[in-house]
């Protein structure tokens, strides 16, 4: 067994970049006061928070003051959806989202359904893409909010949020997008992309866990979902996680200056190698409208969970689905929405790369995986 580990599960989370880790250690020494305190020690901490706000806002072409720090993507999604709908329910109670959203989007919508709202769940096509025309048809006079993720966390399908956002803008409907998987990977401008609410996460871009943000367009008002000391201009109470926020800021800045070409090439190299070596393999998702770091494949007749454990023993870490659903026995709601059955969902693997993976790692993964697939298929033939 090769002793070096290969981590191809970067859509679940990424390793904290060494420079980010070093900054966070500095903050723990230098910025450990409460950033809401007005004394000089508090100001040291506050400067880390505000610098991070500037770094992140700049990467989105957003007003600095409209970026609100949260504990992560889940909280940002809850705040955006529940906060906006509760504060503005007099304007309408019809909501639109997609069937392939992350549970931190779907569950707030289900909660709102139990509390007097109606929700239309748009179906994707076979490649996991939401058609803008379907959104256009689903809009009603009382539609209050549309929430469509920028890219899917399981299959990597990329949505045309600019077109979706324009439809919403033309109909005076607020548009939220969960950019957890795309922030730092796909260039974005909240103005050009017609986005009113945007969810961001730190730990998908080599920042620490425990930090996220929500961009809120300046004309919008949201009901807070956390009450307390009134931090973040009253939008999100709770003492700032200064070291995580500082790390998030630096990670965001670094992500936006990291060339993507190498990741695209690695994904293509992995795709070609797997499809060359393994019979009865198919892509889940789109060949063209996809994130450049996620490859989701179906390998007929081979249980994904067995492959995952076999690869793990070889020091290779991938996912049999999204990390959040990996511990659940239910089949992927994303693959089901794309029209695939439970069998296909249970025979699906997700590889998610980062800028720090290498071509050698890709070749080793392809080699080990093809051997494991042959072995598992051989065992099946032997037992039948």
């Amino acid at each position: 067994m090769n002793s070096s580990k290969i981590y191809f599960d970067n859509a679940a989370t990424t390793h904290v970049h060494p420079q980010v880790r070093a900054l966070m250690m500095d903050v723990l020494s230098d910025g450990s006061a409460n950033p809401s305190s007005t004394h000089s020690a508090g100001m040291r901490a506050r400067l880390y928070v505000e610098k991070a706000r500037q770094q992140i806002a700049k990467s989105l072409n957003a007003q600095t003051s409209r970026l609100f720090f949260t504990s992560g993507g889940t909280e940002s999604n809850n705040l955006a959806i529940i906060g906006y709908c509760l504060h503005n329910r007099a304007r309408g109670t019809h909501l639109i989202t997609s069937q392939i959203e992350h549970p931190s989007v779907l569950e707030p919508f289900r909660w709102l359904e139990r509390n007097g709202f109606s929700v239309t769940y748009l179906a994707p096509n076979k490649e996991g893409v939401i058609a803008p025309a379907d959104l256009q048809h689903a809009l009603q006079k009382d539609t209050l909010l549309v929430s469509i993720m920028h890219a899917n966390n399981e299959v990597g399908s990329l949505q045309d949020i600019r077109a979706l956002g324009k439809i919403c803008r033309d109909h005076h409907v607020v548009f939220h997008s969960d950019a957890t998987q795309t922030f730092g990977k796909v260039p974005m401008s909240v103005i050009d992309d017609n986005v009113d609410l945007l969810t961001l996460s730190s730990h998908k871009v080599h920042g620490p866990k425990g930090a996220g943000a929500l961009y809120i367009k300046d004309s919008l008002s949201l009901q807070p979902v956390l009450f307390g000391g009134g931090q973040e201009n009253g939008q999100r109470s709770g003492t700032h996680n200064v070291e995580a926020i500082a790390g998030f800021g630096l990670a965001a800045e670094m992500a936006h200056t990291t060339p993507r070409e190498s990741i695209r090439n690695l994904r293509q190299r992995l795709r070609n190698a797997l499809f060359d070596r393994i019979q009865s393999i198919a892509l889940n998702g789109s060949e063209t409208e996809c994130l450049d770091n996620i490859l989701n494949v179906f390998i007929d007749g081979v249980e994904a969970i067995k492959v995952l454990h076999a690869l793990d023993k070889k020091g290779i870490q991938i996912s049999a689905g999204s990390a959040c659903s990996a511990g659940k026995k239910t089949a992927s709601h994303v693959l089901k929405a794309m029209g695939f059955d439970d069998k296909r969902a249970s025979e699906t693997l997700r590889f998610s790369l980062s800028a720090y993976n290498t071509a050698d790692e890709v070749d080793r993964v392809a080699n080990e995986l093809s051997l494991i697939v042959d072995q598992l298929r051989g065992l099946q033939h032997a037992s039948t």
Binding site: P35, S36, S37, T38, S40, G42, M43, R46, L47, V49, E50, K51, Q54, Q63, T64, S65, N233
Partner: protein
């Protein structure tokens, strides 16, 4: 916050976020350059000048506008 060259509108930004944003803005400026800061009345007009002075910057003048906000002229301390 709206930053246009050496003007910074911090009205509506609570303490100490306003002071931190002014300090970060000044950190991009040259020694002895001037920054004009718009501030809300009340606590911001106490905290922000104090924090900027503590960071080595010089308050050149402070002038109250008709709408009750303040116009602070600050010289960058480098």
């Amino acid at each position: 916050m709206q930053a246009h060259e050496n003007n910074l509108d911090l009205r509506g930004i609570p303490c100490p976020q306003n002071a931190a944003q002014a300090i970060l803005h000044l950190s991009t400026m040259l020694f002895e350059d001037e920054l004009v800061v718009l501030l809300d009345d009340g606590e911001p007009m106490i905290n922000v000048p104090e924090s900027l002075t503590l960071e080595g910057h010089k308050i050149l003048s402070q002038e109250k506008s008709q709408d009750g906000s303040w116009l602070l002229r600050v010289q960058c301390g480098g």
